[in-house]
């Protein structure tokens, strides 16, 4: 997905937008809870005076540079090391390493996470239905872990019973099926803790013919219980609270956008995705390419996922957030900055 990668880079190379929307982030926090709409946000963020007055109040700050970048994560897909088996079947080889690492879940708030490859969520594993998947898992953490893939595979490839001790390793090998949006996570008990500490990632199995070309984005709805009282303090998509509110995701008017949305939120029964100023095609689990629901709120229980497709008719900043207002106000909200398509 080199097209998507360069799209993300383009988005990051626009400092003016970024600064403008820093202010929007500040106002957005206020506007949201006071019942302000995206329209109000748009008009207020356009005023430089507002920017100046709200800049000091942006004491919420920013995450450390060099840490996990949620903007890059949106479009990073790991297709593995590709080769062919004697039978002609495509073989994709991946490596997942469990390690303990402190991550920043909101500006200045650090969380002692357990990670796959040092990041939360882990890398997005992507393949095509029918590919042979081989994942070498190495545990460099201080607790036993495993990798449990959702999908159809043999019992001993399920990661539910074969726990990998610290410094141990295990190789999972199976044929990727069914096509759709899957996920992987640690299945070591206590499962609750192994998940909310950060051991999860997205697993995309493309249908053999692929999906229509689109701007593709991966969003993992996650949350963090930073004080370990079995309730979440910080909510987000892709770990960092309010990240896409501060650094909006650039979209083009008329461009098809596809969001791979997964809910891994622990402790809360449901999480959701609400899109402003638009409706989307809601493909539950992404397994059926034909049938969808036409709606603007996708509600998912823990472990559920869906593929969303939409195209913006208007330009401007549009919010997207959990429609559980509490989650939205504790970090799970962002902005799509929709602009005119470039004239070619």
């Amino acid at each position: 997905m080199s097209a998507n990668d360069s799209g993300a880079r383009r988005a990051l190379e626009q400092p003016i937008t970024r600064r403008k929307l820093l202010a929007a982030g500040a106002i957005g926090g206020v506007g949201l809870a006071t019942g302000g709409s995206a329209l109000a946000l748009q008009t207020r963020s356009a005023s430089p005076a507002e920017h100046a007055t709200h800049h000091d109040m942006m004491a919420v700050g920013d995450i450390r540079p060099g840490a996990f970048d949620p903007t890059a994560y949106l479009t990073q897909f790991d297709y593995g090391k590709e080769s062919r088996l004697p039978s002609g079947q495509v073989l994709r080889e991946y490596e997942l390493v469990a390690e303990d690492r402190e991550i920043e879940v909101a500006p200045g708030v650090f969380y002692p996470a357990w990670t796959y490859n040092g990041q939360v969520p882990g890398p997005t594993i992507r393949c095509t239905e029918g590919d042979r998947i081989r994942v070498r898992f190495v545990n460099r953490g201080r607790h036993p872990h495993s990798v449990h893939f959702h999908g159809i595979h043999p019992a001993n490839m399920d990661g539910a019973f074969e726990m990998v001790p610290p410094d141990g390793s295990y190789t999972y090998e199976f044929d990727a099926e069914p096509a759709g949006l899957q996920l992987y996570h640690c299945h070591t008990v206590p499962i609750k803790r192994h998940i909310h500490k950060g051991l999860y990632g997205v697993f995309i199995i493309d249908p053999p013919g692929g999906r229509p070309p689109a701007r593709e984005l991966v969003m993992m709805m996650n949350a963090f219980d930073t004080n370990f009282d079995n309730e979440n303090e910080i909510y987000a998509v892709n770990t960092v609270a309010f990240h896409y509110q501060k650094y909006p995701i650039q979209l083009r008017k008329g461009e098809l956008t596809r969001v791979y949305l997964v809910n891994i939120t622990e402790f809360d029964l449901l999480n959701s995705f609400h899109l402003h100023g638009n409706f989307f095609r809601f493909y539950r689990t992404g397994t059926d390419l034909e049938r969808f629901e036409w709606t603007d709120v996708a509600t998912l229980a823990q472990g559920e996922r869906c593929v969303l497709e939409f195209t913006y008719k208007h330009t401007g900043p549009f919010m997207f957030h959990a429609h559980q207002s509490e989650f939205a106000e504790l970090g799970w909200s962002g902005i799509f900055d929709v602009r005119e398509a470039p004239h070619v």
């Binding site: 926090g29 109040m57 004491a59 650090f110």
Partner: protein
């Protein structure tokens, strides 16, 4: 030790250490202690401690003020052993923009003020939560949001009036029992002295319980319990010291002296009460209903009786009586003023403890008066009934205040 024969051998054995000056002997252990601390910090097993345990963070939110609509002001103190970094602020489970007055990292015993532009709703509760860099949270709830009073004429006069009603008027009314007391014979006068003892014991325990209540909100390093001990034990010691100085200078333990002591003790108690009323009002924890003021009016009238009870056989001038009433009642006003704008659990705890301590001393003095007057039968059935009656009066009038 007056026998030189006994003293001499001791002097010989101690002679060996005489060569070292005594100031050095006194200070020596302290120097060694400082060395031990320095050694521990430099090379000791501190590394083991910091690695094995999670960081100990303790932030205490001392006060959440609502200076104007749309603004919260959180006062916080770090009473824990280590520096704490305030990362984010949540209000009612919503992450909110804010500014910290000073560095986000709060060193031990340092304070910060955090301003949060939050549209708080009058009359409704709000909860503020500080989340630190390690993800720990510290919360405080405003029971009923009302704009924090400013030190303007309206506020000052409101609380002056409140303090006057709750503290000054009842005490002065109580003083009017003096002519009645003068007509009583010795036995019944003692009964009223005993009754005063009962009243004061009730107030003392009340003050102590209040002190323990507020001490729970005192930042750890300032040791709420230690403050209570200082006030409770220190105050009677200071008062007793002053009393003995007075006796040495020939003034003696006159009834007026005891009455003044009672007034001072009640005044100190009322200062704490004023602080509590002011800060509860400021943080919306009490609505100043008519009923509450009436309750205080009735409740505190008994305090006036307590002051004049020792004066049953005296003829003090009107000025003197008014002075006694002022000593006991005016601190309520002062306390309410201070409590309204800048109370902290620390000062409220300390003043309640001082009030309780003063009462301990006064109960002791009143007891002496009773013993002196009753030829060893201080706890006659009538006096015992007096103490009990004092407790019951306070209990009954306390119901009106409603805790």
């Amino acid at each position: 030790m007056s026998d030189p024969a006994l003293a001499a051998p001791e002097a010989v054995t101690r002679g060996g250490s005489r060569r070292i000056p005594s100031w050095l002997l006194g200070i020596g252990p302290l120097v060694l202690l400082a060395l031990a601390v320095a050694l521990f910090l430099r090379a000791g097993p501190v590394g083991v401690f910091t690695q094995a345990f999670p960081p100990v963070e303790e932030l205490t939110i001392e006060r959440v003020a609502l200076p104007e609509p749309g603004l919260l002001e959180i006062s916080v103190v770090n009473g824990g052993p280590e520096a704490v970094t305030i990362a984010q602020v949540f209000v009612d489970d919503a992450s909110w923009v804010h500014s910290v007055g000073g560095d986000r990292t709060v060193d031990r015993l340092e304070r910060r003020k955090i301003r949060v532009p939050y549209p708080w709703v009058e009359g409704e509760p709000h909860t503020v939560t500080l989340i630190t860099s390690t993800g720990l949270t510290f919360s405080e709830t405003i029971a009923v949001a009302v704009e924090t009073p400013r030190a303007d004429a309206r506020y000052l006069s409101t609380f002056a009036l409140l303090g006057t009603y709750a503290g000054v008027i009842p005490v002065l009314l109580g003083l009017l029992w003096l002519p009645f007391l003068r007509r009583l014979d010795r036995r019944w006068l003692d009964f009223f002295l005993a009754l005063t003892v009962g009243l004061l014991i009730f107030l003392g325990v009340d003050a102590l319980v209040e002190a323990f209540d507020t001490s729970a909100r005192v930042a750890g390093a300032f040791q709420g319990t230690g403050l209570i001990l200082l006030g409770l034990v220190g105050t009677p010691l200071v008062l007793a010291g002053l009393g003995s100085y007075r006796r040495e200078s020939g003034a003696g333990r006159t009834p007026l002296y005891v009455a003044t002591l009672v007034a001072v003790a009640i005044g100190l108690h009322n200062l704490g009460e004023g602080l509590a009323i002011g800060s509860s009002y400021a943080t919306g924890e009490i609505a100043l209903g008519t009923f509450l003021v009436v309750g205080f009016l009735i409740h505190n009238t008994t305090e006036g009786l307590g002051i004049v009870a020792p004066l049953g056989s005296e003829r003090p001038g009107l000025g003197r009586l008014l002075a006694l009433g002022a000593i006991a009642g005016v601190p309520t006003v002062i306390g309410a003023w201070i409590g309204g704008f800048s109370s902290s659990p620390l000062w409220t705890t300390l003043f309640f403890a001082i009030g309780a301590g003063a009462i301990v001393q006064v109960v002791f003095e009143l007891g002496r008066l009773l013993v002196r007057g009753s030829a060893g039968r201080a706890l006659s059935p009538l006096n015992a009934a007096g103490v009990l009656a004092g407790l019951m009066i306070m209990y009954a009038t306390g119901i009106i205040v409603g805790g």
